[in-house]
C-alpha cells in the first residue's frame, strides 16, 4: 500500500477545530435521533455516528467555496463544513424554511452557498457529478477542489469505475473519499469485495490511493492535505479509503444483527470523539472548561435550529409546480 512521503501534521489549533467539527456533527446527530424518537420528525435517517473524523478533518482543510457531493449518510459532511443548522433542520422537517423548501428532505440537502452541491440517495452517484463540478473549476482556472463522499458499498458500483477513470484521464481536482465502515448496508465488506483494500484500485486508474485510519485526526489530516494540494495544483484526483466503523447500523432502527458483537463493542470502546477530546486536554491544546463551553455553545446552536425548523410552516402546495423547470408549471 502507498505511504505518504511527506505527512503534514495538524497543530493544536487544527486539532481543536477538527474536534469542534466532530462535536458539531455528533451533537446534531444526537439531537436528530432524540427528535425522531419523540416523534417530532418523520424521515429515514442514516446516522454516521462513529465516522466523524473523516469529514471534520477534510472540512478543516477545505475553503468555503470548495464543493462537495455527498450521499444519504452525508448530513455529517455538511455539518462538518459548517452548513447553517436552521435551514438544515427546517429541511429535514419538511418545512418551507428548509434549504430546499422541504422538497428534498434529508437525502437531498443542498446548500450551494457553502459548496454543498448535491446530496444523492443513489449509491455511487456523487462521483460522476463531482467530476463535472471539478471540470468546471478546471475550465474556470479557479483552484477550487471538489470532494465526492461515498461508502465502501459504492466502490462496487459502475459509476465508481467510470468516474475515477475519467477524473484521472482529465486530471480533475477531485478527492474521492470512501468511508469504509466495513458494511455495504448489511453485507460485510469482505463478502462483497475480493480486494482487501479499495485504495489498491487507484493504481488501476492511474491515481494515488491511500488507506487511511479514518478515525485518526492526524492520519486523516495528512492524507487529506496531500490530496487537496495535489488537486489544487492541477495534478489530478486522489482516492482516500478511510477505515471507520458505523455505530448505528445502516438506517436508524436497524438492530445490527449482522454485526459481530465483540467487534462492534471494541469499535465503540475506541470511539474517536472522546479519544480526541482526551488528547486535546492531555496535550494541552484545550482545557476542560474550554471544551465544555464549546459543547454548550454547539448544543445551544442546535437547540435553536431545531426549534426554528420544527416551528417553520409546511410548504405551500404551489411548490408542486415550482422548480420542476425554471418556469413555473401551469396550475
Amino acid at each position: 500500500m502507498a505511504e505518504l512521503s511527506n505527512a503534514a501534521k495538524p497543530d493544536g489549533k487544527a486539532l481543536v477545530d477538527i474536534y469542534r467539527r466532530m462535536l458539531r456533527v455528533e451533537r446534531n446527530d444526537d439531537a436528530i435521533r432524540a427528535t425522531l424518537r419523540r416523534g417530532r420528525l418523520q424521515m429515514p435517517y442514516y446516522s454516521a455516528r462513529g465516522q466523524e473524523v473523516i469529514p471534520a478533518a477534510i472540512s478543516h482543510l477545505l475553503n468555503r467555496d470548495d464543493q462537495i457531493c455527498t450521499i444519504y449518510r452525508g448530513i455529517q459532511d455538511m455539518v462538518a463544513k459548517d452548513m447553517p443548522l436552521k435551514p438544515l433542520w427546517a429541511e429535514i422537517a419538511g418545512r418551507v424554511d428548509g434549504t430546499c423548501k422541504g422538497k428534498g428532505g434529508p437525502m437531498h440537502l443542498t446548500y450551494p452557498d457553502m459548496g454543498i452541491m448535491v446530496t444523492t440517495g443513489i449509491v455511487g452517484s456523487s462521483m460522476p457529478i463531482a467530476n463535472g463540478l471539478a471540470w468546471a473549476a478546471q475550465l474556470d482556472g479557479s483552484k477550487k477542489v471538489v470532494v465526492a463522499y461515498f461508502g465502501d458499498g459504492a466502490a462496487n458500483i459502475g459509476a465508481f469505475h467510470e468516474a475515477l477513470n475519467m477524473a484521472a484521464a482529465w486530471k480533475l481536482p477531485v478527492l474521492f473519499v470512501c468511508a469504509n465502515n466495513g458494511f455495504a448496508e448489511h453485507t460485510r465488506f469482505e463478502d462483497g469485495t475480493a480486494v482487501d483494500f479499495i485504495s489498491k484500485r487507484a493504481a488501476g486508474y492511474g491515481m494515488p490511493g491511500y488507506t487511511v485510519d479514518g478515525n485518526d485526526a492526524d492520519d486523516m489530516y495528512a492524507h487529506a492535505s496531500a490530496a487537496i494540494d495535489r488537486a489544487r495544483s492541477g495534478e489530478g484526483p486522489t482516492l482516500l479509503e478511510c477505515k471507520t466503523f458505523r455505530f448505528l447500523g445502516h438506517v436508524l432502527g436497524d438492530d445490527d444483527f449482522y454485526m459481530d458483537k465483540a467487534v462492534k463493542a471494541a469499535a465503540m470502546e475506541a470511539d474517536p470523539l472522546p479519544a480526541l477530546r482526551a488528547r486535546l486536554i492531555a496535550e494541552g491544546h484545550a482545557t476542560e472548561e474550554e471544551l465544555a463551553a464549546l459543547q454548550a455553545s454547539l448544543e445551544a446552536e442546535i437547540a435553536e435550529a431545531q426549534e426554528f425548523g420544527l416551528n417553520s410552516p409546511p410548504p405551500s402546495l404551489d411548490e408542486l409546480r415550482r422548480d420542476v423547470f425554471a418556469e413555473e408549471m401551469p396550475a
Binding site: P128, I129, G132, W135, L139, V324, F325
Partner: protein
Amino acid sequence: MTEMIKMNGIQAINAAMMQAMEADPKVLVLGEDVGDREGGGVTGTMKGLSTKFGTERVKSTPISEQAIMGAAIGAAMAGYKPVAEIMMMNFTTVCMDMIVNHAAKLRFMSGGQTSVPLTIRTLTGAGWQTAGQHSDFFEGWFAHTAGIKVVAGSNPADLKGLLLSCIDDPDPCIFIEGGMTLFAPGEVAADQGPIPLGKAKVVVPGTDVTIVSWSAQVLRCQMALQGLAEAGISAELIDLRTISPWDRECVLESVAKTGRAMIVHEAVRSFGPGAEIAATINEELFGQLKKPVKRLGAPECPVPFAKVLEDAYIVQPADIVAAAVEMMG
C-alpha cells in the same frame, strides 16, 4: 431577402453548434469521438468544433455514459451549458440514473437552488438494420420524467433552431436526432435563430384529419400526403417538434376543426406518447370527435434486423394512408 442555404440535418446541427459556441464561451461539448481527431462525432455533426474552439471546450470522452452525463450535470450546475452526446439513444439506458434521478430532479429537490442547463444530443431510428440496441425511440420514457424537456426536429431548419433553444434553455433537454432527418436535405435561413420549445408547427393545413407526428415519422407522413390527396383526404399534418412539454393548444385547435386525429410515431405503440396525446384529445374534445383517435406505432417487439421485418416494424406511408381512409369511412 434572407439568404437560404441548402443543407442536410447534419450540417444544420453543426451550424447550430458553431453559432452557439461562437456566441457563448460557456457552451461545451462532450461525448464519445466528438473531437476532430476522432472524426467529429459518429455522424460528423460535431466536425470542426474542437479545431475551432479547442479540445478543452470540445472533449472526446472515454466510453463511459454515466461519467459523461455526470460531468455534464456538474459543469451545468457550475454555470456552463454542456452539450453531451450520447451516441445512440439506446445508450441512454446506461446513464438513466444520471439523467432521471439527477439531471431532471436536482432543481426541484434543491428547491430551485441548483439547475442543470444541459442538452443531451442522441441519435436513433429504425431503417438502418441496426436491430434491437441501436434503433429505439425512447422519447416516451423521458417525457414521463418530470423535469426534462424532450425535443425532436424533422428538417434542417427546425433541427438548427430547436437545438439552439435547447442549449439556451435553463433546464435539461434531450434532443433526439432521428437518423432519417439527418440526411434529408432542406433549406435553412442563413440567420436561422432559436425556435421556441413547446411550439408545434402545422406542416400542411387540411380539413379532414389531423395527423400528429415528430422526427423521422414526419418525413414518412409527408410521403403519405400524395396518397392521401389521391384518396380525396385533406390531412392537416402537425410536426410536434417538442414532445414534452407538447403544444396542446395547436393540436386541440386542429382536431376541433377536423374532428379526426391520428398520432404517428416510431416508438412502440403500447404505452407510447401517442396514448398521452390521444387521452388528452378525448378529455378535451369528447363529443366533437367524428371517430375515435387513432395511434400508429411499432408493434410490441424489439426493433428487428431482417429488412422485411424492420420495414413491417416501422409505420410506413401506406399504413398512414390506409388508416386515414378507414377513419373517413
